[in-house]
Symmetry: C2
Subunit: 201 residues, 2 copies
């Protein structure tokens, strides 16, 4: 759509929507038209909600989670187990673990992984505060819920080294077959790990 | 993500984003996190742009286009051919035709098609104003750029009847093979139309 079809406001809306993950130029146009058609039900509430999010969302200084309060809802939750700390790369991973609904621990968001190629060193991650928290809160177990990628595992090993003096128990997520997964579609590494860690039926 | 992970603002943001076409619950979460991470570059501008769009976008009373001015940019454009009127179903179709960049005419947006099953009758479409415009603006050609669906073609025939007295020339888009299309993947109807309307090489 050229500038001559409509005012610059609509074009700018399409350009910004196209920068959302999962939307390209074509779907951004569809989304813009959908918003214009649903002005009262969707466009106005979304404008207000984005403004509120922009003004109110902060990063929790304790754990690195994104929330509208600091400390965040999870850090404030007194019912959560204070002995366990779950280390994740991103807020998205934190949300994914919360959806699983198994843990009732607190989190520590690293903000990425060590990655020399991308120029991410230890000082770019929330690592110093992790060591402090483990000592100050008398954490008994640190669960490394870090992605099973090369950078993720490098970061996990680095954290194990950082926490060596604290004598805290460090665990990591199990490798194995995804629930509902078919063996034929799995890579050899996952299958090997699943065989190695087999359990009694 | 349950309400206990973060404040209600983030959850509301995800719910609203999930209502955009092309985004589901999972991609809406990703989009929300992306927005939170890119607060200055994306979240704030998008909030402002949506607010402006909400306040300023109106439907052009002349043609039915969505724009920030009424009459819209296209209706105001004096360089556009005033003898030709292109009838489309939706604003999305208008944009699609403008991207093709072939026409420099004005448009008339019907706002849908006749569809007895969906309860869309002639009074639900911008049909009365079409007849008025054709007479008042002394239009010489009406191009029916309406989708080649059953409802679209019913609407086209209805419009031909409406304009029968005005003696305006009425044309419709050609049927044929899409540019870049492969014969093997085309339906019989399209192939038959393409053979019937074959042109000298």
């Amino acid at each position: 759509m050229g500038g001559r079809v409509a005012g610059p406001e609509i074009e700018r809306l399409i350009q910004l929507l196209a920068r959302l993950p999962g939307l390209g130029p074509r779907s951004a146009r569809r989304a813009a038209l959908h918003l214009i058609r649903k002005r009262e039900e969707l466009l106005a509430p979304l404008a207000d909600t984005l403004r509120v999010a922009c003004d109110k969302i902060v990063t929790c200084r304790a754990c690195g989670n994104a929330d509208t309060c600091d400390p965040c809802t999870l850090c404030r939750d007194e019912r959560r187990d204070r002995d366990t700390l779950v280390v994740v790369e991103t807020v998205a991973d934190l949300w994914a673990l919360e959806r699983a609904g198994v843990l009732s621990a607190r989190y520590h968001v690293l903000g990425g992984t060590l990655s020399p190629l991308d120029g991410m060193g230890p000082s770019d991650l929330n690592l110093a505060s992790l060591v402090e928290r483990v000592a100050a809160d008398r954490v008994k177990e640190v669960i490394l819920a870090i992605n099973a990628t090369v950078d993720g595992q490098t970061t996990a090993h680095y954290i194990v080294g950082l926490l060596a003096d604290s004598k805290v128990k460090i665990t990591r997520l199990a490798h194995g077959i995804p629930v509902g997964g078919e063996l034929d579609y799995l890579d050899e590494g996952t299958l090997a790990a699943a065989i190695k860690s087999r359990t009694v039926f």
